[in-house]
Point group: C2
Chain length 454, copies 2
Amino acid sequence: MQELKVILRDDEIPRQWYNIQADMPTPLSPPLNPATGQPIDPEDLGKVFPMNLVEQEMDQNRWIDIPEEILEKLLLWRPSPLQRAVGLEKALQTPAKIFYKNEGVSPAGSHKPNSAIAQAYYNKEFGIRRLTTETGAGQWGSALSFAAQQFGLELKVYMVRVSFEQKPFRKLMMQTWGANCVPSPTRDTATGRAVLEEYPDTPGSLGIAISEAIEDAVSSENTRYSLGSVLNFVCLHQTIIGLEAQKQMEKIGAYPDVVIGCIGGGSNFAGLAAPYIRDKIQGREIRVIGAEPTACPTLTKGPYAYDFGDLAKTTPLLPMHTLGHDFIPAPMHAGGLRYHGMAPLVSRLCQDKLVEGAALNQLDCYAAGMLWARTEGFIPAPETTHAIAAGIEEAKKAKEEGRERVILIGWSGHGLMDLKGYEAYINGELSNYEYPQEMIDKSLEVLKDYPKPE
Amino acid sequence: MQELKVILRDDEIPRQWYNIQADMPTPLSPPLNPATGQPIDPEDLGKVFPMNLVEQEMDQNRWIDIPEEILEKLLLWRPSPLQRAVGLEKALQTPAKIFYKNEGVSPAGSHKPNSAIAQAYYNKEFGIRRLTTETGAGQWGSALSFAAQQFGLELKVYMVRVSFEQKPFRKLMMQTWGANCVPSPTRDTATGRAVLEEYPDTPGSLGIAISEAIEDAVSSENTRYSLGSVLNFVCLHQTIIGLEAQKQMEKIGAYPDVVIGCIGGGSNFAGLAAPYIRDKIQGREIRVIGAEPTACPTLTKGPYAYDFGDLAKTTPLLPMHTLGHDFIPAPMHAGGLRYHGMAPLVSRLCQDKLVEGAALNQLDCYAAGMLWARTEGFIPAPETTHAIAAGIEEAKKAKEEGRERVILIGWSGHGLMDLKGYEAYINGELSNYEYPQEMIDKSLEVLKDYPKPE
């Protein structure tokens, strides 16, 4: 009988996160205050995030201890399984060995709680009693609802109105975990009221929801804002994924030739990939691929530049691959990958050729997701299908070349809350999105007066 | 750091099912042919199920080898974790230790695939190429869709029309796994056409769907019917749950004082409990509780009698606790527990005082489910909340008595596909159901002319 999984015991869970800032060949350019063009004052960030997280954002230590209180909560579902996709290998008739790290086993069904739990803990530690956040597709909002409840924090989630109406189940998850989930724009913030004044029937947008959540946080007592990707500390919290995967593969004497994660804001990918990129920096031969949608080709088509993290320009200027902060990706189903920018950490690593981007189109991704569900059983999230599709391409190449190749896929979450995308695919209602270069060029014009990162 | 989980390695998965028929103090009375009142001819059952499963239904051996091909598929998600509910213990301030066996980790999200995989395998082995089944709430239909796909079998699922319309996501899961899921009644069977002739707008019923699925199976080439609970072989396949739990608790030197599972048709409960009931038969002091809804109080209010397994009276007469085959349980959310009868195995064990029933009401169960979600993270299925509510009662008793007590809960599945019940609970729209004894007595009148089991 072939063993299909490598499981770590509770006492084998990693006790430290890995901070790749300590090993990057080129240090990160700092976030800039858009008014002055100077590096942002940490005190300014401290109005939005608790200072202990602001400090973690800039921490340069290689290893950062995971507080015991966080480990206890992570153990509700971690260490997550490393599994071998034998059924898929057979279907592809490939000599490749395909492993996947299954983050779908968390209460919220994705990797997001890895950082949600950490952020809730640090806020609580800092004396914060209430969090705000925004959510689009709902993965982050539900993860933070679960985490806030675990630490007894209040939470208000500004959910993009169109998602709020189209995805009632995500809202119900958040309510079950005790969060207050409201359709954005609301009448509760000046931003929301202004938008509703002008566009009473607006479907809302992630940009508006972010602005509302930040306004609420900075203007309410004992309240801070929480963000589910992009930032260094979010990527840091996610490194537990890659650290576990390394331990697990070591147990069976395996090491990947290629590591693949889907990539939107970048934290899921960075979490899986960072420990492997460290090996690569130290000379190991390994490919590290961020799989993104052609509908939002940030790594493959966007330049490395300073840009705002949000449409409303409320964030500092961040050094990153970007399609321009007012780029609106096509309405494809992998909502978690519809982000114009990319985590500065991942962007810098990409500049240094330690990470490569691959753009996958929607139909290939759903075909890959269907094949996965029918061979491996678990139905992947639309975001996760991008990593699977890229993994299948690698497995096919291995077959053509007739050589074994070890492929590690980051299986970021299950698709049980996103079955409408599968329905649309099965019914032939989906299409691919590709942008003419002129359109991207036009969207990038906003960048021309901003400073340039090194 | 406290360890919260006990995980078995792939190579520690049980290799045999435990057949409690070998150890029961009173043997099962046989199923009867309703026309003759005589034990059913296995050849008749062989028209509905493949003969290898019919033989397994009557097998009296204590240990039955699990074929390698089944083990390989079970390893996609098994062994399932045994977890300690420390957060719940704290919230209850109980000295009790609460463990739960998490069956929510399967691709379909419940324990159902344990038997679905086995049934698909045995059908395939027997040369069957196509399966039929019915589904109400959708748990069984989706589990069998996954399993049929794993063995390359065609599958047609007759889904009660009202569920088909109200639960589109369950249908989408089945389609994603390649099954043909249709709203019952259909025009594809004589039964369906007759019903539609008379009641064109019928919402359908489980009884009608069963009749359609069986008619399709016995009248189509190379086709058999598949059932997700009640039968001996289904209970047998589920014993892997309890066998794993015993191995896991042994690893930490623990043994439960009380084992609790929710109980509808009985297979989830039997699967968890059977190995413990064996210990009890051998003299071990342990309580084994089947937690059922007051809306369908089969074990607590139904007599032990011969009755049909379905409303349409297409099955043999089965010796079981029953509320009468035309008892229609109130429309509560735990659809998987809305069954008038009870697995003959469980019924017989209950007669012999090896199993006790406990009836829980809907509001207490949802309150328990909410408390679980907010302490332990995972959102339980409405069915599972019954076991949790009963477990919480035991934990409270332990607190009153001031003594440690080890409680093992069968966590049969997650509730991500059933969030509407939570919404109704949060909005105060749910109520309890209790039946006046006269109503149950009236429903039991159908039994008066049937033979009586010993």
